[in-house]
Symmetry: C5
Subunit: 317 residues, 5 copies
Amino acid sequence: MDCAVYLDGVREETDRDPETLDDTLADLTGQDFLWIGVSDPTHEEMERLGGALGLHPLAIEDTLAPHQRPRVDRFSDHLFLSLRIVSYSDDDITTSEVNICLGRHYVLTVRHGGPHLSMARHRAEMVPDRLKQGPIAAVHALVDTIVDRYEDVAAELVTDVEEVESSVFSADRTRDSARIYRLKRETLEFRHAVAPLRDPILRFAQVAEPEDLRPYFRDIGDHLQRALDAIDSIDSLLSNALNAHLAQLSVQQNEDMRKLTAGATLFAIPTAVAGIYGMNFEHMPELTWTYGYPACLAAMGGACLYVYWRFKKSGWL
Amino acid sequence: MDCAVYLDGVREETDRDPETLDDTLADLTGQDFLWIGVSDPTHEEMERLGGALGLHPLAIEDTLAPHQRPRVDRFSDHLFLSLRIVSYSDDDITTSEVNICLGRHYVLTVRHGGPHLSMARHRAEMVPDRLKQGPIAAVHALVDTIVDRYEDVAAELVTDVEEVESSVFSADRTRDSARIYRLKRETLEFRHAVAPLRDPILRFAQVAEPEDLRPYFRDIGDHLQRALDAIDSIDSLLSNALNAHLAQLSVQQNEDMRKLTAGATLFAIPTAVAGIYGMNFEHMPELTWTYGYPACLAAMGGACLYVYWRFKKSGWL
Amino acid sequence: MDCAVYLDGVREETDRDPETLDDTLADLTGQDFLWIGVSDPTHEEMERLGGALGLHPLAIEDTLAPHQRPRVDRFSDHLFLSLRIVSYSDDDITTSEVNICLGRHYVLTVRHGGPHLSMARHRAEMVPDRLKQGPIAAVHALVDTIVDRYEDVAAELVTDVEEVESSVFSADRTRDSARIYRLKRETLEFRHAVAPLRDPILRFAQVAEPEDLRPYFRDIGDHLQRALDAIDSIDSLLSNALNAHLAQLSVQQNEDMRKLTAGATLFAIPTAVAGIYGMNFEHMPELTWTYGYPACLAAMGGACLYVYWRFKKSGWL
Amino acid sequence: MDCAVYLDGVREETDRDPETLDDTLADLTGQDFLWIGVSDPTHEEMERLGGALGLHPLAIEDTLAPHQRPRVDRFSDHLFLSLRIVSYSDDDITTSEVNICLGRHYVLTVRHGGPHLSMARHRAEMVPDRLKQGPIAAVHALVDTIVDRYEDVAAELVTDVEEVESSVFSADRTRDSARIYRLKRETLEFRHAVAPLRDPILRFAQVAEPEDLRPYFRDIGDHLQRALDAIDSIDSLLSNALNAHLAQLSVQQNEDMRKLTAGATLFAIPTAVAGIYGMNFEHMPELTWTYGYPACLAAMGGACLYVYWRFKKSGWL
Amino acid sequence: MDCAVYLDGVREETDRDPETLDDTLADLTGQDFLWIGVSDPTHEEMERLGGALGLHPLAIEDTLAPHQRPRVDRFSDHLFLSLRIVSYSDDDITTSEVNICLGRHYVLTVRHGGPHLSMARHRAEMVPDRLKQGPIAAVHALVDTIVDRYEDVAAELVTDVEEVESSVFSADRTRDSARIYRLKRETLEFRHAVAPLRDPILRFAQVAEPEDLRPYFRDIGDHLQRALDAIDSIDSLLSNALNAHLAQLSVQQNEDMRKLTAGATLFAIPTAVAGIYGMNFEHMPELTWTYGYPACLAAMGGACLYVYWRFKKSGWL
Ligand SMILES: [Mg+2]
Ligand SMILES: [Mg+2]
Ligand SMILES: [Mg+2]
Ligand SMILES: [Mg+2]
Ligand SMILES: [Mg+2]
Ligand SMILES: [Mg+2]
Ligand SMILES: [Mg+2]
Ligand SMILES: [Mg+2]
Ligand SMILES: [Mg+2]
Ligand SMILES: [Mg+2]
Ligand SMILES: [Mg+2]
Ligand SMILES: [Mg+2]
Ligand SMILES: [Mg+2]
Ligand SMILES: [Mg+2]
Ligand SMILES: [Mg+2]
Ligand SMILES: [Mg+2]
Ligand SMILES: [Mg+2]
Ligand SMILES: [Mg+2]
Ligand SMILES: [Mg+2]
Ligand SMILES: [Mg+2]
Ligand SMILES: [Mg+2]
Ligand SMILES: [Mg+2]
Ligand SMILES: [Mg+2]
Ligand SMILES: [Mg+2]
Ligand SMILES: [Mg+2]
Ligand SMILES: [Mg+2]
Ligand SMILES: [Mg+2]
Ligand SMILES: [Mg+2]
Ligand SMILES: [Mg+2]
Ligand SMILES: [Mg+2]
Ligand SMILES: [Mg+2]
């Protein structure tokens, strides 16, 4: 548990005992606030914390239960936000969950797995002027840090989509459908982490207090929209790539079939001719000619060359 | 018929005779209420019950007719809710119907097949404080229990989708289209049970009385949305899987065709050569050579080996 | 022309002469009304009827012109409704048109082909209490009868979709695309008959007078929605079935191609071997062996059996 | 330039000199109006006309520039409408443009190519009662005539779609994809001419003055909607037809491949048997039998017949 | 940096030193304004400029950061617009970014790469009457110039789509999927540059001051809509073209397979017959006939011709 009070925007260490939290809270005035960070709390820890902060039972339940849908929920005197931290490597989107409770004088972040949020805290502490505006400034720092990551991840996904494109349209026979499927699936996972957040954030940006912070939340809404645009693009590029891959496979099969046809014909000619001169008729004048054999071989070779040239010319070989 | 009065949130047995129901009802005050559970009632039973409770004729008709669309309908002094209980096993979604009538002092549940609702009742009875808030608390308990099940079913479906994925991308030749079709079909059935409920529940959450219960109905709306998100994912994964399956089939066919081509060529070479030395020309000098035969066999074998090596190298075999 | 007055909900025969209609109308008070049913009227008949009832010129035009879009249109003192009666047999949806004009003291139904509407009239006359509420009760009876049929038709369509499914996934080679196409096409026709009606009916349900009838029109709206849900399901099942059919065709082709490959190989072996022993080299020691011939046959047979076993084992045959 | 004044709904010729137009206009009172029809005007002509009528510079620019999006645009004291006249022949939708400016006392139509609008003018002049309502009645006549044509064109398109269907499902091998593509493309062009008009017309129908004309514009909106419904149907039928065509192609290929397999097998049998009896082993007892040759031929023939019968029975031939 | 003051719509050069900009600004009255054009500024330059103009920190950040989503953002006393300049060549859409800040007395354009904006400035300076209306007229000139380009680019894309169509439906075997994919991808990029701008521009057109300019911004909105319609068409034509290409590939493969079957059969006949007469039976009467050999050749040739004619007649060759 990382816990500190921010008096006039400046961090001061405080007693981390949940028992005394309500006393600490009661002492806070103006825009001063407590910032509490918890990671994978037990049920008891959350009950105690929630009791001290006066959280709604549903907010306590939701900070504990994983797989929340990203959203912003308003309880009588506090706000509940659920977000996903997204990371990407080896064609795999991984998400972890951060739930945030924002009250008059406190911010509580509850993390389930995933990377530490200290980066967001440091970023916020570097601009004490903004933290002076109260706990909502801390929420902004957290959400901003998480959403910025979405665009990075989208850019990494785009790189992999481009790899797939190259592979689909490369001259070699490649099996791209499994990777395309995989990337489509991860894009879907990514979308479920990002999409539900946009509208609540934009709605929140219209009512956030103090008013000075509204453009900052609107900016987050805009970045969410950009990430969503990128996700839409990626998804539709992947669908197109799969269709193009099917076309490539058909083209290759057509070519193979033409090669098979050409090859079969090339061998069928000497086989048929040889069969004819292998017949046992008594009266087959060519068989007794001195140059019958070489003439026959030449005719076979000539026919094959002619047919080969015809196939080449018409693009069958 | 399971029938009890809840006085100040605590269950008390009561007379189950529909004849005396209106007397019992007339005695109830404050947030006290009757909770009546009926299963597969006859037309007469429902007429009698509906008369006693003062239900609208359409509400009576709809509690009796199966295949209601999930919805929330408001009659002059009572509310009608229709929900689906969903269960899943062996790639098959099964739904049964529960219709609920909520009046000032009563809750009536009418079940058509499907599992017993006693679980929801027990769950509600364990929190008498909430049942003190009147019959709406009983409705919350029922809807909450039913909707929680949706997410479990979605998770089970996801497991089966993952099985299909493995099968599609496994190295063996698998016929996955029938199962994919089947799962898509059940997903559709699932969606029809879940989707129509979300908006009415969210609308109801905005007007429910007492106000304390609104966040609880909002929470149900959120869980419905999560189930719907999962259903959307499943549906689109299955579509992608079918397309990928088509691509896999094409890839396999291309490979088979190349094998056929390679195999045909390997046999065509000795056949053609043997045909040539089977010709009956009188003057074929090779035929009289002492080592003509072994040389010929060696040439055939060599040609075959060379062609085989070429096919191997270029990935045709 | 079927024409009667309903005084206090009870039918009384009346003079059917359009000339005297306005007199009859002028005599009606309270919720009494004229119910006129016409089928395939000529232009003149409609002009006379419309004049007597005071219909808007556009309403007269629209009752005459077939291919109206289902809708509810409000003119100054009367309402115009256009509906489709839908029937289904032999994979064919057939629709016929009913246009309804509802005034203060009259209901006019104009039918173009299709089944008789007397069923709706009888149904209405059996509940005189409801007909006491005026001509709108007659409209409810008509629309209700027509919309109930939609759900029956949807259920019949579902049966045929299930037949198609069985055929697609049956072991035999079936050509299902024509029937799937046909059913998709009829589903589209069905949707065009049903979909445009839902929103106007739901809007009408909010303003209908007397207020008591509103839940009844809301109920019709709900049944329209159910029919639409079924249509959506059918349409998407058929799309999925066509895709699955394509996959089945690919699987069958792959199997055929493997059979071709296996068969060609089985015959290519003895042909090549026989070719070799048909060569005319002078020095071919095997040819002079006493058991050369049977040994050769045995070798051919053995090779074929071995290859056959290999193909069987790997699933190619 | 076709120019006339309509005094109390009746046409009277007037001076066509744009110089004196403003004088003519200034004299008009009540619902009298000028109706000016221009076709492919030069820039100067439009500048002069626009100046005389007091058109907004953007309205002048838009009447001149082709490729306007169909729409209704409101300037301070006049309305600008842009519509497409649609015609269809030989699988080709052709559109031409009509721009209309509607002022207090004038209607100006500017046509770019396409058929003459005199039909609409004659239709309007035949109902002077309606033209008494002012220039908006002229606009109604124009838009009504143009929109009526949309439904005719849609019906012609449907006929061609039915031709395509027959071709796709005919027993002969037909190449339908080019025509399907072509029709889809023209349907798209058609939609772009029709779709953008519906909402502005329906909005206009709610505010048009005099109020008596509103049902007439609503009727146009309804006909636009019907044309759009038809366009949606056509588009989706064509998509389905293309998919069905792909399935038909696969079915045909499967049949061809089975024929190839059967044919190859039928010839492979005598070839292999003949190869065996063409071997040169010294000890091949069958060769010396008196009836060896006919027995061998009979065996070959019998095997072929048996195989042929097997293929026939199993549907491969 | 291109910097000038526009006094009563007429350009006058001014001091370009950012240090004195606030003095210059303080002197401006009425609709006079500063127009500053910057290209690829450094962080410091923007900080200084933004400070002088009183820009919001987020506006400064967004003018610097590339990859803004096209949009219109309102800060307390200035407006921020982000647009994309689009160009197209060799099947490649290239976009560059222009960010615009519009204040009471200034317009600032910040360009990242891409073509110079002087064309828009010259266009604006040619109509001093409009520039008299203040800095918003300069914004109109800029946006109008950029949006006009969108329609040109859409027209160029359409030309390439038509090239692809011809190629798909040409008689030769063409590989069109890569180009179709490429064009779809660029269309997507194009859409992302155009689509997000339409709604904010239409909203801005409703509130822009002075009111005289509103129709001009509405006109830009209309042109954006036209560009979007074209983009939708292109995208759907390309999808259809890819499907048609797949159908063409299937048709070609069917033809190739039939050619293979026909060719194989033509060669199989003489091969089988020759095999039969190559058998070494002692009693084969035909072999001793004087005209056995030519009769056999004639029979082979005749059979081949007959089969060839049959294949031709049935369209297999
Ligand atoms: Mg993942
Ligand atoms: Mg950010
Ligand atoms: Mg990578
Ligand atoms: Mg490749
Ligand atoms: Mg930003
Ligand atoms: Mg089921
Ligand atoms: Mg729950
Ligand atoms: Mg399972
Ligand atoms: Mg597999
Ligand atoms: Mg069902
Ligand atoms: Mg929850
Ligand atoms: Mg039909
Ligand atoms: Mg009904
Ligand atoms: Mg049937
Ligand atoms: Mg089947
Ligand atoms: Mg129809
Ligand atoms: Mg009902
Ligand atoms: Mg294929
Ligand atoms: Mg295919
Ligand atoms: Mg055209
Ligand atoms: Mg009309
Ligand atoms: Mg035609
Ligand atoms: Mg056909
Ligand atoms: Mg009409
Ligand atoms: Mg590009
Ligand atoms: Mg422009
Ligand atoms: Mg080009
Ligand atoms: Mg081509
Ligand atoms: Mg981009
Ligand atoms: Mg324009
Ligand atoms: Mg497809």
